[in-house]
């Protein structure tokens, strides 16, 4: 188990821009506990991108992903005193985000059950792929790529939670198996098995793109 996540941040560096001055997550948390708002801001800068992307791929809903990502940081802020540094901070924040996302999924499921209209509403209509506005004419290649991306996103969204979490963490976020096992509080073997099983399920859904 990693005591600090500074080393593993290299995987994130390819996705998000990191400041030059590198302080460990734990050092930033300690400063934030002392009332250093800038330190908490630095934490947000480091993790807002990965957490938003993770939640987006998990929920397939950008607005909801942003909302839950913000909620994740609010929870981290109010739980700063309860955070133990024997866990990697990345594990801690991903676990909070995962729990929020799972709660959101269950809430959606309940809402769908309660809503009469939900019975006649397909997932395609309720979960719209986020597309940033683009004024340029859309080339065919981009259109195809967007369609492919949407299809993969919908396929991920159909996975059961227990497969979706590790697959997204591993293949989208690039987290290590050990870290995913910590986040999901599972054994390493079970984690690897679930990732493989999740990929197999995706393969069945994405045959046309292989």
């Amino acid at each position: 188990m990693a005591l600090d996540n500074t080393g593993s941040q290299s995987t994130e560096a390819s996705h998000t821009s990191m400041p030059d001055e590198r302080r460990s997550d734990h050092a930033l948390i300690e400063s934030a506990r002392g009332g250093d708002e800038a330190a908490f801001g630095e934490i947000m800068t480091r993790y807002r991108g990965p957490i938003t992307n993770y939640l987006y791929r998990f929920l397939n809903d950008y607005e909801e992903a942003v909302d839950l990502a913000q909620e994740t940081f609010v929870r981290v802020y109010f739980a700063l005193d309860r955070y133990h540094t024997n866990f990697a901070f990345s594990t801690y924040i991903y676990r909070i985000a995962t729990n929020l996302a799972i709660s959101e999924l269950r809430r959606r499921k309940r809402r769908r059950l309660m809503s009469l209209t939900g019975l006649f509403q397909s997932d395609d209509e309720s979960e719209v792929e986020f597309q940033p506005p683009d004024t340029r004419p859309l080339p065919d290649a981009d259109m195809l790529e967007n369609e492919r991306s949407q299809t993969i996103g919908r396929a991920i969204a159909t996975l059961p939670e227990k497969y979706r979490v590790p697959v997204v963490l591993r293949d989208v976020e690039g987290r290590t198996y050990e870290e995913i096992a910590e986040i999901m509080q599972l054994g390493l073997g079970t984690t690897k098995s679930r990732i493989s099983r999740g990929r197999a399920l995706l393969k069945d859904k994405l045959q046309n793109y292989l």
Partner: protein, 274 residues
């Protein structure tokens, strides 16, 4: 991200496909919105969500418990009301509606039962099977008698039998106020016998043993002996035909029928008048 041997064909391609997905980033005002939420002082939606969940789950559970408890109490009170004498006796007496005598039915064949409608004391109509060969006035009298007794004795609705029935409540051994003495209590049994003096005392005679029988010293007023005609000075020679001496005993289940006394130089048999 795939970094090992494939568990199935195409696993690496699937992993690569997911890794190649375009990443999304947080919106520009992300930090501002988070700080606004923090500034608003709520521990995120966590607290409110927690309260909402508590209400959503807790309220139905509490309601179910209250309903179950209420049902149990009602059920218990109904059972107690039926079986427990004090509970019945403690209820308010109900004003009994008058008994409506049914019109005299036409004559029917022998042994053919006919239906009669009787208004019972609690006011509800009930059908009663009455044998047609019984005289109507007898039936009516019995009905009125029962109803009169019921009206007088019964404090509330329900049958008299229920009202006087022993409670079904289970008491600890030795504490049951309704407990009857056991049939085989110490000193009392099928072979127990009663001394003649106890028999005499029971019928209201105070007697002492004379040489030829029990001489009556006094007779209790208005008791069996006096009503039957036994007088002071009589000498009781036999009871129920059995000659008595100083130590004669009778079975505990004594059924007095007659007594033979010696009066004025002659023997006289007197039947008991209860």
């Amino acid at each position: 991200m795939f970094d090992g041997p494939e568990n199935f064909e195409g696993e690496g391609k699937i992993a690569a496909m997911l890794t190649s997905l375009k990443r999304v980033d947080a919106p520009g005002d992300f930090d501002t919105r988070v700080r606004a939420r923090i500034a608003s002082g709520r521990g995120g939606e966590g607290a409110s969500a927690w309260v909402a969940n508590l209400i959503r789950i807790g309220v139905p559970i509490a309601a179910a418990i209250v309903i179950a408890l209420g049902g149990y109490l009602v059920f218990t009170s109904i059972n107690t009301g039926q079986d427990d004498v004090p509970a019945v006796a403690g209820t308010q007496p109900v004003i009994q509606p008058p008994i409506v005598a049914p019109p005299t039915p036409p004559a029917t064949d022998d042994n053919q039962a006919e239906d009669r409608i009787i208004v019972n004391p609690s006011g509800e109509m009930m059908a009663d099977k009455i044998n047609a060969d019984r005289p109507d006035d007898l039936v009516r009298n019995e009905t009125n008698k029962t109803s009169a007794n019921t009206n007088k004795d019964r404090p509330t609705g329900g049958s008299t039998e229920l009202a006087v029935r022993e409670s079904k409540n289970i008491f600890p051994r030795g504490l049951n106020p309704n407990a009857r003495p056991p049939a085989n209590a110490k000193g009392v049994g099928p072979n127990t016998r009663i001394h003649v003096s106890s028999i005499l005392e029971f019928i209201g005679v105070k007697a002492t043993w004379a040489d030829n029988g029990w001489r009556v010293d006094s007779v209790v007023a208005n008791d069996i002996a006096e009503r039957s005609g036994i007088k002071t000075g009589d000498v009781i020679e036999a009871i129920n035909g059995q000659t008595v001496d100083k130590k004669t005993t009778f079975p505990a289940k004594f059924d007095g029928k007659s007594v033979r006394v010696h009066r004025d130089g002659a023997s006289l048999t007197i039947d008991f008048k209860p």
